[in-house]
């Protein structure tokens, strides 16, 4: 692994289903983030984690949850997907909270 990886690359999901987007980094960065990117709205922060064991809500947290059990992994869960959660999801990390962020390749999620 080099940098940040995300899985899956893309997914089509039926509304109401549960889905976990995976994010792993091997840079030993303390802070990690989840964004969604929608046309005309730019990147919006969903949840963040300043360090392993802590999480916080971003700009658009409703319908999403995260956990940070260790430094490397930061999964994002949609408990019951809705069509408005159709988006491209980016995971990012930074050495410390507030430093420049390095982004993963993204997951394209379609909820029907």
């Amino acid at each position: 692994i080099a940098g940040i990886t995300q899985a899956p690359t893309s997914q089509i999901l039926a509304a109401g289903r549960r889905m976990t987007l995976r994010c792993t980094q091997d840079m030993r960065h303390n802070a990690m983030y989840w964004y969604r990117q929608d046309l005309g709205l730019g990147l919006r922060l969903i949840h963040y984690s300043n360090t392993a064991g802590t999480t916080g809500k971003g700009e658009v947290p409703d319908g999403y949850s995260v956990s940070r059990a260790n430094t490397d992994d930061f999964p994002l869960t949609l408990a019951s997907a809705v069509p408005s959660q159709t988006s491209v999801y980016f995971c990012a990390s930074s050495v410390l909270a507030g430093n420049e962020q390095f982004f993963g390749p993204g997951t394209r999620l379609t909820v029907l």
Binding site: G40, L41, G42, L43, Y48, G58, E59, G98, E100
Partner: protein
């Protein structure tokens, strides 16, 4: 409410032209402003600016911040087709969150 506005929304230029992209912001207790380049997939970091009037430069790209007028510009000289991308501006107020603008889409025609 914290806000980041980028202009223009899109731009089409010919190779060799110089372009200036704008980012204005309204945030509480400004800490830093970042520029990213986004091609097909993930945004890649270009610059972080924290002080007014100090130019950051990398090759043909440069950027400067004006904290009094609350804006930053990103200049690209002698543009190449490889510069075609969406350029994103992000601002960090107090706290650890960044607020992103919607980006400027740059197309460089050969």
């Amino acid at each position: 409410e914290d806000k980041v506005v980028q202009s223009p929304l899109s731009l089409v230029v010919h190779e060799g032209d110089t372009v200036t992209l704008n980012c204005s912001y309204e945030v509480t207790n400004f800490r830093s402003l970042l520029w990213y380049k986004q091609e097909k997939k993930a945004p890649t970091f270009l610059f972080m600016l924290t002080s007014s009037g100090i130019e950051k430069k990398s090759g043909r790209l440069s950027s400067i911040l004006d904290k009094k007028e609350l804006f930053s510009i990103l200049n690209i000289t002698a543009t190449q087709t490889g510069d075609s991308a969406v350029y994103l501006c992000a601002v960090r107020p107090t706290g650890n969150q960044f607020y992103f603008g919607t980006g400027t889409s740059l197309t460089v025609i050969p």
